[in-house]
């Protein structure tokens, strides 16, 4: 089927208003949140219902056209790129909260719903949806399901997979099925568990059944200030070593602090070597009892100062600084490349030392802002995209960072996903047999490979050859539009 007929056929399904084929408009869909990679789809369709999604999929299957689901486009691994062209299925119009049931602690939502909207809707009744990726004011829950997204508070509350009980999915065949459900432990294989984190290669989510949590009785947010990263790292270990699991422990180094202060004026001490943002939540008596031990651990490690948020406003300000960290990099560097490696917590100091050494080796500055509590690093490699060869250096340094994470028993991605970006690094972590086991699972869900091709699995092809349709990679790493609009931050 030629492109014109494909566009017409799609228009017949969703209506011409919801088919995007104009080259200028398609530009919006040529990247996701990781803007160094681009691939332009032939057409974008915006269905309104599972039935429409199914029909679009059946059409793609019949015509052997690749198709790629897409939520808000905030992903950070190139997971929503139409690498082989074809159809992008945008789920943005399916953005309703379908059902809220407090008695059963559940909500049913559509995939295009923006993460924070769910919490906004239920917070007046004392409930919330726990997974809180930093982009939660912009990212969609369907995308969160695809990536198994985390966030600062997943240290205590778990990531997306721990909060999703059931899904309605349009399979790669176009069939609509329900997997999992409202209640735990359904009989059979845990299809919901396997689906979450499959990066849009198993099916297209059209409904999500999530767990709602009761708001904790008390929250206490503290900023612990240190002269060195080493002291801050020792404090993280000390807190965990005392059997305390805060809701979040976030770390920022001096470079990050400087960028944040320039950008937000949240009151971070620009001369500090490192700060920890520690949040305790839970029953009031517990939060009160644990605050002193946390501060005591800080003191044992030469903490210079502690600031405890007195109210919600102060608390919001501390978090604003943390959440704006990525966007604030623009204050100190023309461009940056974010990594997402995970390491066992005890290796924190070692890996930070290695990253520093890499920084010297490549002559690129690195700002560290990350989820220290669970060892999920986000080194931001700063570079100047106007300088010849710096992008390549940044990428090479990123690759070495991933290798170091694996070497200490870690993982190449904690929450951003493999997508297109990291697919060729999979063999660092998994043997051919391990990858074959994953490929078996993929073959069951996506036998023809038409659904989101080119993701997760390593290729023998070089990274540069993006897309069978001959679309070259264009490297042009700039903050994503939603970052510039202040809707999202990279975390």
């Amino acid at each position: 089927m030629d492109r014109a007929r494909l566009i017409q056929a799609m228009a017949d399904v969703v209506g011409p208003t919801y088919v995007i084929s104009d080259p200028a408009e398609l530009k919006v869909y040529e990247t996701d949140g990781l803007t160094i990679f681009k691939a332009t789809p032939d057409v974008v369709v915006l269905p309104k219902s599972a039935a429409e999604v199914a029909e679009v999929v059946r059409l793609c299957v019949r015509e052997r056209v690749p198709f790629v689901p897409r939520g808000a486009g905030t992903g950070l691994s190139g997971g929503a790129l139409a690498l082989e062209g074809g159809v992008v299925i945008g789920l943005n119009r399916m953005n309703r909260v379908l059902e809220v049931d407090y008695g059963n602690q559940r909500a049913v939502i559509e995939p295009g719903l923006i993460n924070i909207w769910l919490t906004n809707q239920v917070s007046q009744d004392g409930y919330y949806y726990a997974p809180d990726p930093a982009s939660q004011t912009a990212c969609s829950v369907g995308g969160n399901v695809a990536e198994n997204s985390g966030g600062p508070h997943c240290l205590k509350y778990g990531v997306t997979t721990n909060h999703v009980l059931g899904l309605e999915v349009v399979l790669a065949s176009g069939e609509i099925v329900d997997i999992g459900g409202w209640t735990p432990d359904p009989p059979g294989y845990d299809l919901t568990g396997v689906f979450v984190g499959s990066e849009g290669t198993f099916g297209i989510v059209t409904k999500v059944v999530v767990r709602l949590l009761k708001r904790p009785e008390a929250v206490k947010t503290m900023m612990l200030v240190f002269e060195t990263i080493a002291d801050a790292s020792a404090t993280v270990s000390g807190i965990i070593g005392r059997g305390i699991i805060p809701a979040a422990i976030e770390m920022m180094d001096n470079l990050s602090i400087q960028a944040v202060e320039k950008g937000t004026h949240a009151g971070y001490p620009t001369d500090a070597g490192s700060v920890l943002l520690v949040e305790l939540d839970g029953p009031r008596a517990e939060v009160e009892a644990l605050a002193d031990p946390v501060i005591a651990v800080g003191r044992e490690n030469r903490m210079r100062e502690v600031r405890v948020a007195k109210d919600d406003t102060e608390r919001a300000l501390l978090w604003k600084g943390r959440k704006a960290a990525f966007a604030a990099m623009g204050q100190i560097s023309p461009a940056y490349y974010v990594q997402d490696g995970v390491i066992p917590r005890t290796q924190l100091l070692k890996i930070l030392g290695e990253i520093e050494a890499l920084s010297r080796k490549y002559g690129l500055r690195v700002a560290n802002v990350f989820h220290a509590g669970d060892g999920n690093l986000h080194p931001l490699i700063l570079y100047d995209d106007r300088v010849e060869g710096e992008i390549e250096k940044a990428e090479a340094m990123g690759a070495e960072t991933m290798e170091r994470c694996i070497a200490v028993g870690g993982s190449i991605t904690g929450e951003h996903g493999v997508g297109f970006e990291k697919r060729d690094f999979m063999p660092l972590m998994y043997s051919p047999a391990d990858l074959e086991a994953m490929a078996k699972v993929k073959r069951v869900w996506n036998p023809d490979g038409l659904l989101n091709p080119g993701k997760i699995f390593p290729t023998s092809k070089s990274c540069v050859e993006v897309g069978a349709a001959g679309k070259p990679r264009e490297i042009n790493y700039k903050p994503h539009r939603i970052e510039l609009e202040g809707k999202a931050q990279r975390f």
Binding site: Y102, G103, N104, E147, N148, C154, G158, V159, V177, D178, I179, G181, W182, T183, P184, D185, P186, P187, G188, Y189, D190, L191, G193, V194, V196, G197, K214, P216, E217, G241, G243, I245, G282, R284, A285, E286, A289, L290, V342, P344, R345, T346, D374, G375, G410, S411, T413, G414, E415, V418, M426, M429, Y430, S431, A433, D434, A437, K440, V441, I456
Partner: protein, 444 residues
Amino acid sequence: MSELVKTLESIVGAAHLLAGGDARRYAVDGVVPEVAAFPGSVDEVSAVLVASSKAGAAVVPWGGGVHMGLGAIPKRAEVVVGLGRLNQVLDHEPGDMTSTVQAGMVLSDYQAHLGRHGQFLSLDPPGVGRATVGGILAANASGPRRLRYGTARDLLIGLRVVNADGTVTKGGAKVVKNVTGYDMNKLYVGSLGTLGVIVEATFRLYPIPACERTWVAAFSTAVKARRVVAKILDSPLVPSALELLSETAVREVSRKIGVTSEVHGVVLAVAVASVPEAVDAQIRTAQTMAGEADEHEVLEGQVQDAFWAAVRDFDPGDESAVALKASVLLDKAGEAMEYGERLAAQHRLHLAVISEAGTGILRFYFRADEGVDRTTPLAEVVDSLRAFALQAKGSLVVLQAPVAVKERVDVWGPPGRGFAIMRGLKEQFDPGNILNPGRFVQGL
């Protein structure tokens, strides 16, 4: 001695193999295996699988045998692969709160090891003194504390599996947060050994709480107790466990822990773990919410441990009994308990019910009077309760039943519209259909 037995003997050694009559004790639902082999390494497990695969012999992975009642009657069972010799802790890094353990390790031994560093694996399934890590994962066994800590799927961060063809693969990593590739761990939890033999597992651990106490309160009617449960669930209290015990269950638990006082009505047990002051504060709040309790007291120390062990290991200890696990909407849990009791009365069966009031999981234990064949009513009860559970957006699984009852019922119930995917997974991972054939949903 068959060729296969000879081959297996050459792999594991004669001292680690039972054949013929000696293998009888490893029968599953009356299906007696030809041989039970106990490999001493992952390589040996792999070699056993290769040999069995070649011979087309059906393999039954076996941990501590605690959950062998789960599942449909096997279609075939030639080779039992016992994992008991793979019982070492491979790694425990307290600072990371992660640990890797071999599948054959008994949970209580593992907890003792982790406890030396003030940590534990937050799973409290039945039979902790016999159940192995691998068996618990394969059966997706859980206990009262899942309310706070979740189940195996939430705690397992990595695993190693021997596939049907003998290849050894891993999933996950030794980090608590990881999205590199598909989440293969989820595939094996609850798969009852039908996709591969789990040989190693890596877990996220938790610190042992500073203090734990349990508030138990008796209510004259289930309705009153349920009102309190609803209040607790809609409050910021964070109980570790929240269980409702039927009158008969209370009697059995009391007998086991040596409490003689007569309790009438249902009992609500609320476990709270935190720093001492927060435990006391939460228990006081729960007490206030439960103005209507007839009697109540706070358990701690050994009595508390004994109480929860009796709840967890509640088992009528009677092979003619039928144990069921229902999962229903939270607001249907009370009704489910009452419906079960009505069914028991109608069919002249004895019933004890333990309801995890915070998760919607209920365990029903039906039994007949001694010497009376009640196969038909027991089978009818399974069907009726399942119909109820399905109405309540849930499911009902037979945990244990006499073979005669299993022959009459579907032990798993409908697997939903994703079944074609499940079948596809089974075909991909076990094309020769040698892993526990017939025991899983729809005969997988």
